[in-house]
Symmetry: C2
Subunit: 230 residues, 2 copies
DNA sequence: AACATATAAATTGCATATCAATTTTAGATA
DNA sequence: TATCTAAAATTGATATGCAATTTATATGTT
């Protein structure tokens, strides 16, 4: 609340995560200013926030673009995620209270149900959410925020890959992980986390070739409230 | 290079790390604008960058202040550092090339020499630098940047603590760590990293009481090049 | 038609000036 | 001394202008 530029950066973030704004898309200051009905100054502030977050890349005198991470960067991001989650796993194992374990179990159950029901979208969402819950239970907001930022950047990666992989195995990992953690098998849990993320990256086949450049105005129009139909 | 606001945020960052700007210090937009001879808009952009970095806290309608992290936050930051460095340790152990090990050894040697020479300042600096080198050798820029950000925030913490602790033990840890890593004893290395950071935090006795509020102008004046003596 | 080039238009980055809303300061009052 | 009040300062945001640079367009040449 409060800051206009903060709101805007969050809206653009949502649009990127939802794949409405694709990597490489130009984010013209004037276009966004018109769209959100704010001054260019505010848009600039929003773009700076987004670029600090890694979702947007600013090039001097050329403007801001939705970031197009390289495969190398993808690997680095998942390695970073692995490190954080392994650390969280070590903290959680043994030290988590009953309510915490219950929340993890419930999440996995809901996820499994979504898989059974062939509700791919929900399963996907809950699958991502599992990692978020895991980290939240560590009760470390610093780690939580870094982790959330990395997760946002993975959305950027998913916009770049063509083929999907077998989610079933990956989703099953979550259940196994909770088992391992509750049994206090930290090392094995950490190993699972590593291979889990490794599998995700291996499923990423980036095709640098195609890049249908949808313009920002079109992509963002639906995110701005109706009354601002300038 | 290029962005004026980026330059300014970096200068302010240096001032904070050097303890010239202390936690709680008000960063008035007009004051900074006059000091750096830029418009308020540019200062605002710099402050946004700094707040994204966690070094500055912005309060609506009240302004920007150098962040004053709580003890809780200190613990969280060092836990986060632990996670990243443990992850890096796991990657490095066994996989690092000869040149890498040599760099670590050389760093530790220089550090030990500084301790022998009772050159506290240099030893302190090299001690911090060790962690930086360690992470750099992982060749993961994403992790490197997150780590660097956390390190910057620890500077903020050091500004808040009164008593210093025995650095000798902590600095010796670095040498032991390299030994363990080169011998492939990952688990022990990770355990050492955890206790190392734990010891640092334990040495932090925050005194929320005293807070000599030096004004930003005075603190930053020397950072601005001489010709801008407006 | 393909290519190079010169010109015009658009965009970025920054400065200045202005304004309402809010906060801070200073002063007057009890 | 404490409290309330009015003035000054600060923030958040807008609008406008301008130089530097980039992008697009039109022109001319091979």
């Amino acid at each position: 609340m409060g800051n206009r530029s903060d709101e805007i950066s969050k809206i653009v973030t949502r649009a990127i995560i939802s794949k409405d704004l694709l990597p490489g898309c130009k984010l013209s200051e004037q276009t966004l200013a018109d769209l959100f009905d704010v001054s260019r100054a505010v848009v600039r502030q929003a773009l700076i926030r987004l670029s600090d977050d890694g979702l947007v890349t600013m090039e001097r005198n050329k403007g801001a673009f939705v970031s197009r991470p390289s495969f190398r960067e993808a690997v680095e991001i998942y390695d970073a995620l692995t490190m954080l989650e392994q650390g969280v796993a070590a903290q959680l194992s043994g030290r988590l209270d009953a309510r915490g374990w219950s929340e993890l179990r419930q999440h996995v159950e809901r996820q499994n149900k979504a898989v059974e029901d062939k509700n791919d979208e929900l399963a996907d969402q809950l699958g991502s959410g599992f990692h978020e819950v895991l980290v939240r239970l560590s009760r470390n907001t610093v780690v939580q925020q870094m982790h959330a930022q990395l997760i946002r950047r993975t959305a950027l990666l998913r916009s770049l890959v063509s083929s999907r992989f077998d989610y079933c195995g990956l989703l099953h990992d979550h259940e196994v992980l909770v088992d391992l953690l509750e049994e206090g098998k930290v090392t094995e849990a950490q190993k699972l986390i590593a291979t889990h993320h490794n599998d995700v990256v291996k499923g990423y086949l980036m095709d640098d070739t195609s890049q249908l450049e949808i313009n920002a105005r079109e992509a963002l129009e639906r995110y701005v409230s109706k009354q601002n139909a300038a």
